[in-house]
Symmetry: C2
Subunit: 408 residues, 2 copies
């Protein structure tokens, strides 16, 4: 183990008096590891040394009008202090510290050996493509809308429309918790049959991502059962349930389907400048470590947005060479067919085009909405412009009429 | 069920154009429940009506210099949409919405029937007192410091010092995850024996709150095992592991010890003004609903602080009459004996005086540190001033010498 392999390095952005920075950094390095140092007997210091944090770097980034500075402080935490589980990692590097006024956990650097101790994606981008048998184009995911209160036959009809339009994946709305009319098990069974019928008609495989809900103690059993019943993937509100739930599912060989992490509630942590935890840590690093095969997170295009630079960092981490399989990005919110060229420019071919309103809000309905997206995807892969492709696709033409087009 | 019993009402603080507020509120009420409304057929509307959210209130609070306003928007969400589990509640009321720019979930109003569907504290304030046999004074909790890397015999010695000083509860450091030298099971066994010895000497019961760590799928079994082995309470990093873990433990009759929730990582959600989720929702409402008997959260006195008004709101919710047992507040950070009068003034007698540095940093060591606190607690209960009490307690005198005193 090299010296660098011994520390997880967390980088924080703080605002403080410049002359306080060193003391503050020392306080973090010691306070969040061995608790105290200078007042310990020499023999105790010797024994605790392997567990003691260290200040890696202090960089002043900006002088503020009030005389203080904005600075980055990097602290190394010995990996022996915690196991490779996200709650332990987060509690150590941003537990008490999260409550220390204006401070943001901006970045994490994990030693390769520590990162590899996490499961990471079971399928990864290539694995999801293999399940679908689609290797040469962006994937299309359709988001179920208006589910609560509908009886199963209407849900099946809605599923079928999305599938016939060409969606590769169809995901539940993340707020679908009511089980009185259609439990997750019922939906998986019913949509599995619907998918068989549409696959026979179109020749295209479709995966249903079912919202994994219930008491946390029952999630693993339910995940196994839903996978066994034929779920195509599991949608997990990972931040609401806790990121260790994701990891537990990723580590379980009986949960034999891709895991799709939803960003719900994460905005409470990343949205405020200067506070909380950066989106690149949450979406790019933690979700991938925990084993999300597909990571849904805000696109930089819609109304619910993520700043372009931060969005780029997420993408970097989802694919960075860290010994784990790369995850598939599903940038979301405000996606319509006219954005597909931009999506492919910004994310490459290994992207999930994820749409709700952009499919269901199509003037011709959800089937036409999915068709418009597939026409856009095929056009981009073929190097054609959308306006040219729209000449062969009335659905794409109607979508462009409605939402416009942004060629890359 | 009355009309008011049918809705959970979430209040948000937003900044927007005044003329946009109604549209935005409608968008939330519909978007986070039934998905769409005006474009649905009348028959579908009729069927979905019970699941549709509604705008309860819009109040402009302040006109901002840029012409926009700061406003409170209250949205009612039908309780039939989600079960009484925190991840479902949070995903619905602040899932996608948490990513909608500058917005804060400031408050929650839960119908009594919905609140009572949560477990709430198993012991509550009175139950914790009953376990300890202490009914007439604030409780003293000592926080273990500098644990990582110490062998069991030194940990036992440290435990014994804190117990002999008079601590009612001794809690692990929340960052204690390393199990190589002393697993939670080993600690519970060893401290149980140490507690027997100190109880024989002092006649005072002491509860050890062990840090509940490990994969989320194993936490319930471990909690049962630790309770069985003689743990006095369980310390839970509830925000890192997920609040549903707390609820699952509270609902499990075999977890027969009080649950103590630690606020680690919560600052990532509440610390930024105008963003995230208020501390009163997180600490005051969700932790109590989930079943924390003891809620550790920042005091308004130390360096890691919570604003006094927000802190008061937390306390209000921990004790509010909602059909669940009240939880015990353990305001933390920067607590020293000289603050006890202020603590009792602000929190009443039903408070846990929770100290780490204020005990271990005492010039006479941890035992003297705990004694100083107990002398301060007894003085306040007897209506004596600390300076007067210090005449009979050299430990309190030394503490006052070191940290001063703030009479209420």
């Amino acid at each position: 183990m090299t010296a660098d392999d011994r520390f997880v390095v967390a980088t924080y952005v703080v605002e403080d008096e410049e002359k306080q920075l060193r003391k503050r950094a020392d306080g973090i390095a010691i306070g969040l590891t061995v608790g105290s140092w200078t007042d310990l007997p020499a023999a105790t210091q010797e024994r605790m040394r392997p567990y003691c944090g260290r200040v890696e770097d202090i960089t002043v980034e900006e002088r503020l009008p009030d005389g203080r500075v904005r600075a980055r402080i990097a602290i190394g935490y010995p990996v022996v202090n915690f196991p490779a589980r996200i709650p332990a990692l987060l509690t150590t590097v941003f537990g008490k510290l999260s409550m220390d006024g204006k401070i943001r956990l901006a970045g994490l650097h994990l030693p390769a050996s520590f990162a590899r101790a996490f499961p990471g994606p079971k399928f990864g981008a290539a694995g999801v493509r293999q399940v679908l048998g689609v290797h040469d184009r962006p994937l299309l995911m359709s988001i179920f809308k208006s589910c609560i209160g509908l009886p199963m036959d209407e849900l099946v009809a809605a599923f079928t429309e999305q599938a016939l339009g060409g969606a590769d994946l169809i995901k539940d709305d993340e707020i679908f918790f009511n089980e009185s009319l259609a439990s997750p098990e019922d939906r998986v069974r019913a949509y599995r049959e619907a998918a068989r019928r549409t696959e026979a008609e179109t020749g295209q495989r479709v995966l249903y991502a079912v919202n994994l809900t219930g008491p946390v103690t029952e999630l693993r059993d339910r995940a196994r059962r839903l996978a066994e019943l034929g779920a195509g993937a599991l949608l997990i509100n990972a931040f609401a349930y806790g990121l260790d739930v994701l990891q537990a599912l990723a580590e379980d060989p009986e949960v034999s389907v891709p895991l799709m992490a939803h960003p719900a509630v994460a905005g409470a942590m990343y949205a405020a400048p200067g506070y909380g935890i950066s989106a690149s840590v949450l979406f790019g690093q933690l979700l991938r470590l925990g084993g999300a095969d597909i990571v849904i997170y805000p696109s930089p295009y819609g109304t619910v947005t993520l700043e372009a630079e931060e969005s780029g960092q997420v993408l970097h981490h989802l694919r960075a060479d860290n010994g784990l399989k790369p995850a598939l990005p599903a940038p979301s919110a405000g996606i319509h067919p006219g954005l597909v060229p931009l999506l492919v420019r910004d994310y490459g071919m290994d992207v999930i085009v994820n749409a709700g309103g952009g499919i269901h809000g199509h003037p011709g309905g959800a089937r036409a909405g999915a068709r418009a997206f597939m026409a856009a995807i095929r056009a981009v892969v073929a190097g054609r412009s959308l306006r040219e492709a729209a000449e062969d696709s009335p659905e794409l033409a109607a979508a462009i009429q409605q939402w416009g087009v942004r060629e890359a």
